[in-house]
């Protein structure tokens, strides 16, 4: 029976075992993989169950597994809908085949170089992914795949449309098995790390991810590069299996095949992908009599899957140690740290804006906005709807670039910095319309935001080495502490989107605080709350303000809350600052009463 704590861990991505268990599990995994290989080869030698024919099919299963897992990294985990996977495969296939056939290179370096060449392709394709999303990205990647194919078609050195025959048949079961296993392990390790959480955060909500300090550019490109690399390796294996390649083998249909695998297996499930690779490879063999209908069955499968089981065979679930009862319990450390997160040596003022204005088309949403926030201040930003309050937040956090003026934070000009850089420097925010990673667990929401000093590298994540284990443990422990501070620790394993409204607001604040800010921007935290909840919120904000030694800027319409909480209030109207004063003076200010408060508030 799995305990509550284990369940929490199981539902969250990338919780780590302790060092000792880590080693044991690594050994078990390796042993299992080796045993699997010897089992297949043994059975084949003995002529039991696995005939030559089945061994061949297993080779195709392996190649399809690599294709599927690598595409799932891009599509399923990072949420970047790519339809150009065949293009990466083609690059790998052609480069590797060229090296072995024409340059006479050994297989291993040929595969590697093929993978690297495909990864470079991934880098190029990743660039439009920075500006495009969803359907547009799908079409653009499809276009890239086609362009790669057309380029090969025009390359005489590899035979152009005639193709490249006589490629040495280097691809053995051992090669495919080893490469598929390596792909699965590497992608799995990558996903279950802080890098993997960043990828999933991008899938869930790119804007929120960016403001929580995830450098979305870097991670999207990383997903494309790593995914393309393995597709290239798959291409190399493919070429040395089939021994004859031509551009038509890598058309749109090849990309669709990979898509079918991940859709069937589950977008965001590695084990599901492996399972689906088996199904998709064996199915046509089993249906040999209906060979003509293969594509019809494929296409019906795609449609019916989407209509009746859109999450695939496995959804985003995985099958692994945990399901076998070998999982690890969450770290037992339960001491509340509660040390000040802020690096509080900065001299006041913390934040200064000089003449900031923001135009949308012809509309000036904010004009000549000057504000100074001093260390430890708790300031309210109020004004009627459309006054430009959220726009100010967007400028401060880098989501909008100011049309003119500048923003200085702790002495640095942050006017043109990216949201993730600004977050790194110490500004965190919440959103007016809550933007959690709503399909992820409560714990993961906080863990994505959490960063230590000198975070471990991607290599360490893939190899499960170096700082990885200790840092993961610390991230998990600290994140649980944050949840406890906000009264959410007993809901750590719940899906964030299913929390009640008030709890979602609290989680959003916990997540923002987990990034370790010095300045916290709260956008209408009391919206939709009843008086009781608002009162609790008031206490909560006061408390975190003190505890974390924060400077807080707060947008709020609940005047009662603002008056009680804030030391100073700035009033915006039609983008202009009409008052900046202590609460007691604000309520007497004629312009503020006319613009916003109305007579009865006085």
């Amino acid at each position: 029976m799995v305990s509550e704590a284990k369940a929490t861990v199981a539902k969250s991505i990338g919780t780590r075992a302790t060092d000792g268990k880590q080693l044991t599990r690594g050994a078990v995994a390796l042993g299992g993989l080796a045993a699997g290989y010897f089992l297949v080869v043994g059975l084949h030698r003995a002529g039991v169950l696995i005939s030559d024919y089945y061994l061949q099919i297993l080779i195709w299963v392996g190649i399809n597994t690599i294709m599927g897992v690598s595409l799932n990294l891009i599509n399923g985990f990072t949420g970047q809908f790519s339809l150009g996977h065949a293009g990466f495969m083609a690059i790998g296939a052609y480069v590797a085949a060229y090296m072995t056939k024409i340059l006479g290179a050994p297989f291993a370096p040929a595969l590697l170089v093929g993978g690297i060449a495909a990864a470079l392709g991934g880098l190029v394709v990743g660039i439009p992914a920075l500006r495009l999303a969803g359907d547009y990205l799908a079409i653009a990647t499809l276009g890239f795949g086609e362009i790669i194919r057309v380029i090969i078609l025009n390359l005489d050195v590899v035979g152009g449309p005639r193709g490249l025959p006589g490629i040495p048949a280097h691809t053995t079961f051992l090669w495919v098995y080893a490469m598929a296993a390596a792909t699965v392990v590497i992608v799995r390790n990558l996903i279950w790390s802080r890098q993997g959480r960043a990828l999933v955060a991008i899938r869930e909500d790119e804007t929120a991810a960016e403001t929580m300090g995830v450098d979305t550019t870097r991670y999207k490109i990383m997903a494309f590069v790593v995914g393309a690399f393995f597709a290239g390796v798959a291409g190399g294996l493919y070429a040395h299996k089939i021994t004859f390649i031509d551009p038509s083998q890598f058309d749109f249909m090849k990309s669709i095949e990979a898509l079918v695998i991940i859709v069937l297996g589950g977008l965001g499930s590695i084990t599901g992908t492996v399972l689906a690779a088996f199904v998709v490879t064996f199915l046509p063999e089993a249906l040999r009599a209906f060979a003509d209908y293969r594509m019809i069955i494929y296409s019906l499968m795609l449609i019916l899957m989407m209509l009746y089981r859109p999450r695939g065979l496995m959804g985003t679930a995985e099958f692994g140690f945990r399901q076998l009862g070998l999982g690890d319990a969450r770290s037992s450390a339960r001491d509340v740290g509660g040390q000040a997160m802020g690096r509080n040596d900065g001299p006041p003022p913390v934040l200064e804006t000089r003449g900031v204005c923001m135009d949308f088309g012809g509309l000036r949403a904010v004009s000549d906005f000057c504000m100074t926030l001093r260390q430890g201040e708790l300031v309210g930003l109020i004004g009627p709807n459309g006054a430009g309050k959220t726009t100010v937040f967007n400028v401060l956090t880098g989501l909008s670039e100011a049309t003119c003026g500048s923003v200085h934070f702790m002495g640095n000009d942050i006017t043109r910095k990216r949201p993730s850089e600004i977050n790194d420097m110490g500004i965190a925010r919440t959103f007016q319309n809550i933007r959690l990673f709503s399909n992820l667990t409560v714990l993961d929401n906080v863990r994505i935001a959490f960063r230590g000093e000198r975070p471990y590298s991607m290599t360490e994540a893939v190899l499960r080495a170096g700082r990885y284990s200790s840092q993961e443990e610390e991230i998990c422990r600290k994140s649980m502490e944050f949840l406890r501070l906000f009264g959410l620790d007993d809901r750590a394993s719940e899906i964030a989107g299913k929390l009640p409204y008030g709890a979602q607001r609290r989680l959003e604040m916990a997540r923002a605080l987990a990034t370790g800010p010095k300045l916290l921007l709260l956008d209408e935290p009391a919206a939709g709350m009843n008086p009781q909840e608002t009162h609790e919120l008031l206490e909560l904000i006061r408390w975190i303000h003190e505890r974390f030694d924060l400077t807080v800027l707060l947008i709020e319409h609940d005047m009662n809350l603002v008056m009680k909480l804030c030391q100073r209030i700035i009033v915006l109207d039609y983008g202009n600052t009409i008052a900046d004063d202590a609460p007691a003076d604000i309520v007497k200010n004629r312009r503020v009463i006319d613009a916003y408060l109305g007579e009865e508030a006085v």
């Binding site: 500006r131 359907d135 025009n154 804007t207 019809i296 989407m306």
Partner: protein
């Protein structure tokens, strides 16, 4: 043709490009209307175009129906097919994540194409010669009656569709649903019906495009939908997806660009140019030539 660009050669390619582009425009209209209303890239649209060409083919060869009647018949059948696809495959997914509909659309496209391969045979078929080809030489530029008929028909249909979208009640309902489906529904508009009509109109135009392609190039095949469909989609994006005049502009640009690449660069690159244009447009003017950028509200 002797080396160098002579002016009549350029004009000649322009004429050919406009003829081809008018077909892209017809198909692009369907993409753009459907995208405008349900925010879905209807990958199956290219295959409806293919089916339309075959409906016309069978009407003319098997049932000996004259072209003037076969055209509306094929358009009608395609409209029904398009509506059926919408009802069976897309409607159940209207609340699902966009990616689910997109994958379904790819599935439907593959299904139609492979059903075509199965039942219409894979080999390309010669399209019946409906009228004898007449060719005029105007100052070194060759123009055929087929090209003129094609252009005239395409323009007539585009005018018709513009009138429907901008001048009729159903057109107004379409624009309302496109703008805000829920609000439109609250105003008493039967959104499902409007979406069905949109698919029907788009599919009918695609069928007309299919028959014109058969008419012009004299051959059709079950796989023709993929490339024409993709290029027409690119045309829609280039013009600004969801914008009716944008689809026409984009279609013409696509046609001319492709013909110019074939004539002056390399015929091998004719399919790559579409995607190259697409990527450039998406990177520098993602909302398309006639579109306006929409920012995500935070």
């Amino acid at each position: 043709m002797p080396g160098g660009l002579d002016i009549s050669m350029v004009v000649q390619q322009l004429v050919n490009g406009l003829a081809l582009g008018s077909v892209y425009a017809l198909i692009a209209l369907g993409y753009t209307m459907v995208y405008g209303i349900v925010r879905l890239i209807n990958f199956a649209h290219g295959d409806i175009f293919m089916l339309g060409a075959y409906y016309g083919y069978f009407a003319i060869t098997m049932f000996k129906i004259p072209f003037a009647l076969a055209l509306p018949l094929a358009m009608g059948l395609a409209a029904v097919t398009g509506m059926a696809v919408e009802r069976l495959a897309y409607k159940p997914l209207r609340q699902a994540p966009r990616i689910a509909s997109l994958i379904t659309a790819i599935g439907v496209s593959l299904l139609l194409q492979n059903l075509g391969l199965k039942f219409f045979e894979a080999r390309p078929r010669p399209y019946p010669r409906i009228i004898p080809m007449v060719v005029w030489d105007v100052g070194g530029v060759v123009v055929s009656n087929v090209q003129l008929i094609m252009l005239a028909l395409a323009i007539a249909l585009m005018v018709l569709i513009s009138l429907i979208v901008y001048r009729t009640k159903i057109g107004k309902a379409m624009r309302a649903v496109s703008f805000d489906k829920d609000a439109a529904r609250l105003m008493g508009i039967d959104a499902d019906m409007v979406i069905g009509v949109t698919f029907a109109l788009g599919s009918a135009l695609a069928a007309a495009g299919g028959m014109l392609v058969g008419f012009y190039y004299n051959r059709i095949s079950p796989t023709m939908g993929a490339m024409y469909g993709l290029k027409a989609f690119v045309a829609a994006v280039v013009g600004g997806i969801g914008i009716v005049p944008g689809a026409m502009l984009g279609g013409l640009i696509m046609g001319v660009a492709e013909v110019f690449v074939i004539a002056f660069v390399s015929s091998m690159l004719k399919d790559a140019i579409a995607f190259a244009i697409l990527i450039v447009i998406l990177l520098f003017k993602p909302a398309g030539l006639l579109g306006r950028a929409v920012r995500e509200k935070v």
